[in-house]
Every structure is written in structure tokens, then in C-alpha cells.
């Protein structure tokens, strides 16, 4: 038999997948397993929750009813606004102050040497230890909450901005210099975009700390917000109601973290590509 020359193939048909196989894959998909896990956990909780002393534990159905009640009488909405408003203001301040301090100490040696003893000292003190002092100065309400939040959440942004800027390679600055860019052009067109993924990672960490910060602040002040509700219901042994603000905080936390991660991914696409290459 003579060998016929093989013509080159650009693509070949993919093997067919049977319906049974497809179903199996769907049932074993990560999200299917996650759903089953959550449902099983809730059922377990419901079953044992009903059998426990309601002072210590409440089943999901009771928490659901309590949530309905708190939504209907407006207590939850009021607390949410009392927490989210200082949270939003505090977060904006945290980002602005954190990036500004990070840039200043990264760009000017003199500023770094003047400021870093204080930054390190503040970083070393557990910020919770400062809360009574902050309340003394800034009060129990809005200003106090914002100050506590900033003091807790600002550090990762300072540190990441600083190291992001310091990490910019000399060869990258040289591109700007060789093409005759001014100092400010080098800063805005090279240093800042290069540091942006670091800064955004700092913001993501800071969001998590800020949520802790606002709840801690409300525990201490104990008169308003979601943290205030938690303390209030704990003192009343209203366990089903106690779970409602906890769950709301968890949901807010997940949404905010996902949102910052989404922004971070968008701004750091080039870095992901760079990493995938090696």
C-alpha cells in the first residue's frame, strides 16, 4: 500500500459528551456542592435549634420571623443607616488619607523619617485600646464612629501604597526619563499606575477592617447602629433578634468585599497577565 500524504488539520471534532455524564458534572459542580452544604447546615441548625433553650440558640425559622418583625417596625433600617452612613464617610476618608500618607512617605525620604516612628507606634498598638480615648475626644456618635473606623482601617492602605510605589522598578522610571517626561508625568503616568494593584489590595484589606471597626465602635458606644442592636438584644436575651444584625453585617461584608475585589481585578488585569506568563 502506498502512503497517501496527510493533509494538515487545523482542528478536530471534540468527543461527544453523554447526557448522563453532563448531569454528573452538573451535580458535582462546585456551586451545586456549595448549595447542598448550605441547605444541609440550615436543616441541621433548624433541627437542633428547636431543641435548645431559646436563650442560647434560635433556629433559622425564628431568626427569619425576627427579621420580618425588625424590618416591619423599621428598627433594622434605622440601625443600617446609622451604621452605613459613618461607614461610607469613614471609608472615603480612610482611602484618601491612606493613599496620601503612603505617597508622601514613599516619595519624600524626609517625610518618611519624620512620620514613620508614629506610624509604626500606632500600628503596634491594638487600635481597640485607643477606642475609649477616641470616644472621649470625638464623642459617641458620628464623629467617634468615623474616627475609630479610620484608625482601624487606614494602615493597610498606607503600607500598600508605600510598598507599591517603592516597588516600581528603576527600569520602568527610566522609560519616562529617556523619553523626557517631567517628574509629575513620571509620577502620574508610571509610578501611580504601577502601584495601583498594590493600593487596591490595600483597599480590599481595609474594607474588612473597616467593618470590624464600625461594629467595635458601636459596641463601645452601644446606642446606635447594627453593633448597637447586637448589644441591645444580647442584653435582653432576645437571641433570634440578635442573629439578624449579625447576618446583615455578614451580607454587607460579602457584598463590599466582592465589589472591591471586582474593582481590583479590573485595575490589575495587566498584572494577572504578567504573572500568568511566568
Amino acid at each position: 500500500m502506498s502512503s497517501t500524504p496527510l493533509s494538515p488539520r487545523k482542528s478536530v471534532p471534540a468527543p461527544k459528551i453523554s447526557t448522563a455524564q453532563r448531569l454528573r458534572e452538573a451535580l458535582l459542580s462546585p456551586n451545586a456542592i456549595r448549595t447542598v452544604s448550605i441547605v444541609a447546615f440550615l436543616l441541621f441548625w433548624e433541627y437542633f435549634g428547636r431543641r435548645m433553650d431559646p436563650i442560647f440558640m434560635a433556629p433559622p425559622s425564628a431568626i427569619f420571623r425576627a427579621a420580618g418583625e425588625l424590618i416591619a417596625n423599621g428598627a433594622l433600617k434605622k440601625a443600617l443607616i446609622q451604621s452605613l452612613w459613618p461607614f461610607a464617610v469613614g471609608m472615603v476618608l480612610t482611602v484618601v488619607i491612606g493613599i496620601a500618607i503612603g505617597i508622601i512617605i514613599a516619595q519624600w525620604r524626609l517625610a518618611e523619617y519624620i512620620l514613620d516612628p508614629f506610624i509604626n507606634a500606632l500600628y503596634a498598638i491594638p487600635r481597640v485600646a485607643l477606642v475609649p480615648l477616641i470616644i472621649l475626644w470625638a464623642g459617641l456618635e458620628f464623629a467617634g464612629k468615623v474616627t475609630i473606623l479610620v484608625s482601624v482601617a487606614v494602615f493597610p492602605i498606607i503600607v500598600n501604597t508605600y510598598s507599591g510605589i517603592r516597588d516600581v522598578r528603576g527600569s520602568m522610571l527610566e522609560i519616562g526619563r529617556a523619553y523626557g517626561a517631567t517628574e509629575s508625568q513620571i509620577f502620574f503616568k508610571i509610578i501611580l499606575p504601577a502601584a495601583l494593584p498594590f493600593i487596591m489590595a490595600g483597599v480590599r484589606l481595609s474594607v474588612g477592617l473597616a467593618i470590624t471597626g464600625i461594629v467595635v465602635a458601636e459596641f463601645f458606644t452601644a446606642i446606635s447602629g447594627l453593633g448597637g442592636l447586637i448589644v441591645e438584644y444580647a442584653n435582653l436575651f432576645a437571641t433570634a433578634k440578635l442573629f439578624v444584625p449579625i447576618i446583615v453585617i455578614a451580607l454587607v461584608g460579602v457584598v463590599l468585599t466582592e465589589f472591591t475585589m471586582w474593582i481590583e481585578r479590573r485595575l490589575s488585569r495587566w498584572r494577572t497577565l504578567e504573572r500568568e506568563r511566568f
Binding site: S171, E174, Y179, A181, W270
Partner: protein
């Protein structure tokens, strides 16, 4: 003096560069500086492609960086087109060894960079960028990021960017050193073709004898310790380099052997 004729693009007069030595052994010895370049005097003619050839550490890249205004000489002067170099000039553009692209910018964004620095309106610089991206053969990759491209394609972006200001002088710091052999040959060919359509003078650093022979009008042969321009060699194949295979030219092998001997005798 011949150096003052208008045909000269770059003139070096007694250019030296010293670098501090970090030595732990002789702490009490008087501090000394290492001589990286020792009184270089030479000139590059307008429209010429000159390669700076030598082993690593011979100061060829230092001389390029001095010419680009990224470093200042410790002795002597460098002039470009009659003006002394004190800082980077906008009409002298650099192609970097590791491509030097900004990874968060697309191909287009990188090529536009020099004109963005100059404050050229977006529409104007975008049109020009497209023209040069097409010239280097990357039109379909305009919106790609550097890390989606091969090394050869990245350096094409580097070349397009350097051409954007229509420079009178192009600095190339071992631009094809990081590429594989086939890609390097292709880029050398393409670069020669592109360059022949411009009036730019080129200073090209390389440690490859073949690359120097293939590309240059003249070769500055460096020796190290201290860095000096030992000889200036006229390429025997300068007129043939744009058409056909210079490797087959009889003078190629002879000149290559001679250069190799020069560089080898430099070794201690």
C-alpha cells in the same frame, strides 16, 4: 577639525565615566573610582548606523546612556548636532534591552506614550500610532497588552514607540539580545528596512559580532578594563546589507575573523 563638520551627529571629546568601587578589603586605603570609560573621542556621522561592540562590562552601554543624557560624563563632552548633552533630548529616542513597555498600557497606549508626554492631542497621536504600528507589522494587535505578545512583537512595539517623534537619533541597547535566533534575524532585517526609510542616525549596542557586521556602517570595537574604543572598523558589507544574504559575502567571513581576534586578544 573633522569633528566640527556639519556631517557629524554625535561627537565625543575625551569622555570618561567613573563608578565607585565597593571594596571591603582595604578599608583604610584612599577611596578610588573605577574607570568605566577612559577618554573616549570619536564621532558618529549623520544618517549612519554605528554599533558599539564589545564584551559585557566594557562600558558600551554606559556610553549609550551618557549619549542619551541618562548619565553625566565625569570628564569630556558629548554633543548631538552641535549642542552639548545635559539631559535626555526629545528628538533622540531609546529602544530598551528588555523592551521597556508599560504593562498596563495596550500596544497603542505604549506607542502613543512619547507624544502623550509632549502634549500632542489624542486624535493626532492615535493616527500616528496606528501608522507606526502598521509599519512594524502589528496592526491586528493594537489593543493587546504587552504580556499577550511574544518577545519579538514586544520589541516591535518598542521600535514603533521610538519612531513616533521622528527622531534624528535612535539609541538601541542590545534590543534583540533577549530574542531567539530566528526572531532576532527577522527583526534585524525588518529594522534595517524601516531604518533605511528614515534619515535617523542609529547607535546600536551589541555583543554579537554577526549582528554588528550585519547592521552597521561602522563598528566601534570596545576593550574593557578600562573601557575604550580600541578600533573603529568600516563594515565591508555596508552596501549589501539591505539586499540579500551578507553572510555569503567573501569579506564577511574575513572581517568577522578579524573582529573576533580583536575581542579575544582583549581577554587577559
Amino acid at each position: 577639525m573633522a569633528d566640527d563638520t556639519p556631517e557629524c551627529m554625535v561627537v565625543y571629546e575625551g569622555v570618561s565615566k567613573f563608578f565607585p568601587i565597593r571594596s571591603e578589603s582595604k578599608k583604610h586605603a584612599p577611596p578610588v573610582l573605577m574607570v568605566a570609560l577612559d577618554r573616549i573621542s570619536a564621532s558618529v556621522r549623520k544618517g549612519e548606523l554605528v554599533t558599539l561592540l564589545g564584551p559585557s562590562g566594557c562600558g558600551k552601554t554606559t556610553l549609550l546612556r551618557l549619549t542619551a543624557g541618562l548619565l553625566a560624563p565625569d570628564e569630556g563632552t558629548i554633543t548631538i548636532g552641535g549642542t552639548q548633552v545635559t539631559k535626555p533630548r526629545k528628538d533622540a529616542c531609546m529602544v530598551f534591552q528588555n523592551f521597556g513597555l508599560l504593562p498596563w498600557r495596550t500596544v497603542e497606549g505604549n506607542v502613543e506614550f512619547p507624544l502623550e508626554i509632549d502634549g500632542v492631542p489624542t486624535a493626532v497621536r492615535r493616527d500616528l500610532a496606528r501608522e507606526f504600528i502598521e509599519l512594524v507589522g502589528l496592526a491586528p494587535f493594537r489593543d493587546h497588552f504587552p504580556h499577550e505578545l511574544s518577545g519579538g512583537m514586544q520589541q516591535r512595539v518598542g521600535i514603533a514607540r521610538a519612531l513616533m517623534r521622528r527622531p534624528i537619533l535612535i539609541f538601541m541597547d542590545e534590543p534583540f539580545g533577549a530574542l531567539d535566533a530566528q526572531t532576532r534575524e527577522q527583526l534585524q532585517d525588518d529594522f534595517l528596512k524601516i531604518w533605511s526609510r528614515t534619515a535617523a542616525t542609529v547607535l546600536f549596542v551589541t555583543h554579537s559580532i554577526d549582528e554588528a557586521l550585519l547592521l552597521s556602517d561602522r563598528i566601534f570595537v570596545f576593550t574593557s578594563g578600562p573601557g575604550r574604543v580600541e578600533r573603529i572598523v568600516d563594515s565591508p558589507v555596508a552596501t549589501e546589507r539591505l539586499n540579500g544574504d551578507v553572510h555569503k559575502h567573501p569579506a564577511f567571513a574575513a572581517c568577522r575573523a578579524e573582529l573576533r581576534h580583536m575581542l579575544r586578544s582583549d581577554e587577559p
